[in-house]
Symmetry: D2
Subunit: 368 residues, 4 copies
């Protein structure tokens, strides 16, 4: 081959490589015509930076919801999401069958309970005088206030509920299912999960005001020489792992990070105990956690692949946008486009801590 041809080939190859890199131009956002939230999110996929990441998360959501293998979708919730004003949005994701399992901090579920009992979060300011708030028994969550007296009352109520339940080991799911059954509030996450049979786990439920109530119950039981209700946290592992092991595929939706993210990912790894080698087929995360501290909240979903938590060929995306902004965008897309409408609901049959069966129940569609 002549030198000339060689260069031509090289030049040609470079041209092709460049053309491949330049395959998809950035598409500027266009706000003409007062677009819907779903429209804007769709546009975001053609933008760059975190807008594109939001758009990519939306696309991954679309594919996980339409996958004929019907992955079991596990929603991980952390951060002050009820304070943020996301209670209704999360509740809608459950009611409209976007997610199959919920894993949450205890705090979120506690604050759902507090609201279900008629109490509210109030718009405050991060510049508040915390000493003055303390004197008034007003507790601050960044820019919202809650009523300590009503918190107190709700703590006690959670503990009293335990007094009525069977002593001995429970999973958080078991306890939370009972708790959800006591709430009568259509807007409640726990109520809807109970009603629809969606399992809710709080793997660190002791680290919440529900935990405070249960500690009071525990103390009462000890004093009276009775066996307390226990939250056997390993039972939580056992239960979620069974769900994973009985699923064809799994998908994770991570809001913020924290224990829920890591624990869901661990359950994927733990499926080996039941002879499966799982790995999420789909995963998205929206978070403010930085990557540079090496913590699990901000660790990339790519990193999770090195552990096998997320499959090597998984479909995933991650956006660094605070959840009070990013979750309404993503939920607005999914609900606006009715992406979960055709999706069947899973039916979980529990016998104590054993998941007897996990069935696809096509007849049970999302309702309300």
């Amino acid at each position: 081959m002549s030198k000339h041809n060689g260069s031509a080939t090289l030049h040609d190859r470079r041209r092709k490589m460049k053309a491949a890199l330049f395959a998809r131009p950035v598409r500027p956002a266009n706000l003409d015509g007062d677009p819907s939230v779903a429209d804007l999110v769709e546009q975001m996929a053609g933008m760059s930076l975190q807008a594109r990441n939001i758009g990519l998360c939306a696309e991954v959501l679309g594919r996980m919801l339409k996958d004929p293998d019907r992955p079991t979708i596990i929603l991980g919730l952390a951060g002050p999401l009820i304070a943020a004003g996301l209670r209704r949005v999360i509740r809608d994701l459950i009611v409209h069958n976007v997610v199959d399992v919920v894993v949450s901090t205890g705090g979120i579920l506690y604050q759902d309970t507090y609201q279900a009992r008629g109490y509210r979060h109030y718009q405050g300011t991060p510049e508040a005088d915390d000493i003055a708030l303390r004197e008034l028994r007003v507790n601050r969550i960044y820019d919202t206030y809650v009523d300590e007296d009503k918190f107190w009352e709700t703590d006690l109520w959670c503990g009293k509920l335990a007094d009525r339940l069977k002593p001995g080991p429970h999973s958080s799911r078991d306890y939370l299912d009972t708790l959800g059954g006591e709430l009568e509030d259509e807007d409640s996450i726990l109520y809807q999960c109970h009603r629809l049979g969606v399992p809710v786990f709080a793997p660190a439920i002791n680290d919440s005001s529900i935990g405070i109530g249960l500690t009071e119950h525990h103390h009462r039981a000890v004093k009276r020489g009775r066996a307390p209700l226990m939250i056997d946290s390993i039972r939580d592992n056992y239960e979620l792992t069974q769900i994973v092991a009985k699923s064809k595929k799994t998908a994770g939706i991570y809001i913020a990070g924290g224990v829920p993210k890591n624990w869901i990912n661990d359950s994927i790894v733990m499926s080996y105990i039941f002879g499966r080698e799982m790995g999420h087929s789909y995963a998205i995360q929206v978070t403010t956690a930085v990557t540079q501290d090496g913590g699990l909240s901000g660790s990339t979903l790519s990193e999770a692949r090195s552990w096998g938590k997320v499959k090597s060929d998984a479909d995933f995306a991650m956006a660094w946008v605070e959840p009070s902004v990013s979750l309404p965008l993503l939920a607005g897309y999914v609900l606006g486009r009715k992406l979960a409408e055709e999706r069947s609901r899973l039916r979980f049959s529990w016998k104590g801590e054993r998941l007897v069966s996990l069935e696809d129940a096509p007849e049970v569609r999302s309702a309300r």
Copy 2:
């Protein structure tokens, strides 16, 4: 007064203080009915965290646009906003008369020029192999790619333009106005600013590819023993300060931070040179810059009050949400609600570096 009464009074006062703190409950987002972007942003004001901050920014925008004193609204732009896909959004804010003056990094205006000349940004990935990109002369901006050959060509073009202009001192505004006049692209920021008489400043224009072009021009001039076109950066100060000093009120919209934010704020302080003591009446910022490093990009607008850059009684808000996400939300709100529709356009009469007059031109409405 009896002790009993004293307590009652105390109790009463506490109750009132608590009621004041609990005046506004958090209102959860509700995505029923496929809401528009403007609807969601309106809802956000009743949520918490950064969603509320976005909502508050939107409300401040609403009030600044409706203020009968017609503040001069100065838009500060930093960050890779063209790469991000925000070119059209920014252009629309100008065309629809939401802003009166633009202050930008040179990079943004350069990339606007690059696009106006027919070149594109491409969707890439932050995980790219930068050494391979280098070999292909593909430059990366986080997750977008640009074509170095076309950058090169555009740099030269900017320098050649200077060859044709009068040597000696210019402000960046003066040069950019000429540059905008050379572009024929309805979607261009610089073109529209030129067409509509909206002043555009790049106070650090030397720090951009436009600056590279002008340096080439400078070198050419030196070699040929000719006087070069100069960008007298103090002239920029002089010009913006006159605009501020001739305004009844001012308002700042800060996208990201950087030199544009600080420089606009400094022009407010500099108004003392013309015998005014200004201070923004309105200010909003959306940024990812952290506050804890003490830098000006992330410094709070409250801090700016200690300097008099923002008035003590100003109406302001700040959201920590990356601009590719936050700017479409805010612009979607303003445009969707047509908040600037009744707003007159300012007419700037320049005589060299002197602002002869700054008039409200009610007949010139936003168009297109």
Copy 3:
């Protein structure tokens, strides 16, 4: 009073207020003479930004260690601290009697165990090819690698240990104390805590590889129809709360954030169950968590005052510096200045889950 005098007074008052604000000039760092870490940290208190915050944290540490009321100091650990290379530093804080109680994520204690069993973390890179790592069973933690095969083996070992223990409810402290007793490694955190009687809690121990081992144990027990070892997470609450309630004062040292921070703070609140109304007298935190997402990791210690978790008049400081950098600085200060040398060690007498007594044991000094 004449007008003149009034102005004079006003002028005088302003002068005084200004003088008060200007009482302490910033003292520039001076690196002459190759200063020690302790010297630099001491200097930092006179600087600004996060350097000052590090300096203030150091000063708070100094006061908490010298307080004659001998607060019970609780160390909260989160983030990949063993991977970071902080194992020895943390171990030294325990051995040198700087802290009295340790609350940790399960992950940190697991990785301490993995190292105690002879395995290592390796220097890697965040840009690694995660798919290639997966194939080699190399797991990535940001920029470090671990050996999945040795992880696996360590998981199993943790589960096997449970096979030998009494079935039924345990606290994480109880289990971890046993685990620590099995390790023979002077550099191990768990080993030293066991040796010195320092209680270690992992309130979300299920969310870790120890939890994976215990789940395997659980599954084995279920299959064989035997009662498993349970981790009753409410028992953890009960135990830590007793420690708090039996303390004269408490102090919190928070590395990163996560469940340990929040759970320690909750234990303070829970002391009401035992008739105490506690609140940390001292608290410091070093973290990378942002404040603007409202999450508990990044929530300010001031905010914690509104909850009564930190006392209204507490001595506290917080630095936004990643722990691999900030913890060696703070530990270098405390150890370099020998601040804990005179401090007595606490003696905890447990009877099952009951803390029979918590005594100050002056004769037991910190030792190696």
Copy 4:
């Protein structure tokens, strides 16, 4: 080859790949014996996360200072570094010949001037009442206070200096050199640069209080019909590019980010104007800027390679640690280890804006 052998080979290859990944164990920090700052920084290179990044930055610094090709080292400064208490540290880097050229925000150099004139920064708090500060004419920079009256006076002084200088175009370097000559303060950055012939650029000097003073001068000149002193910002480009083009190699040290970082990098690119194709051989950055917004402050040095700003085979590192903490660590390492002691000083011969020669002056050693 038999199947068996094939597997053996595969197994062998995997073992080797794994061994390569596991070549360097993480080395835990050890604080025994009250280590010096330099000792700790050296240890950090064997740790992980940002500690390792600090350690790697230190190692890169060591290599750039010992390179026999003697790279021209350009220091980029942004952020409130004087307020932070870093004035002396920066001055020492100049005096001890660690850096050859300084590129800074105007603000840093202004605050150096303010201090050289006898005024101070004061320790304040980010929670200050900004409205009260405004009334007292106390300006806040995060957690420090400055005296507005003394700022004002210093602004005027900067403008008056311009009155005495030759009208017409100057570079910022030219003006700043004169300014440095007026200051009599051994601790001043500008004074030492003037004394030692170290060029200092402020490419956006108009965006600072020096710029305010020059604007006042400009206004005065305009009113009196006289030509003002101009800062031709393109001249800055021309000057720095000559330095780059006359250097064998270059190295960048970026504190924070902002215009200095980008502008230094652009000067590397601009060297093509003088027929060179440069690219930093060494680069380090310490910053708090996030990467995910795509901005230039937080853009990785790897990304800079795609532009050719940093060479493909360059030696670089980057740490996400706030400069008030990271700069004393790095400077403590360089000064403590006396790494620049043998280094010659560069001698710059300027004829107006032309760099006539750039010579290595071995006889001029770093001195105080």
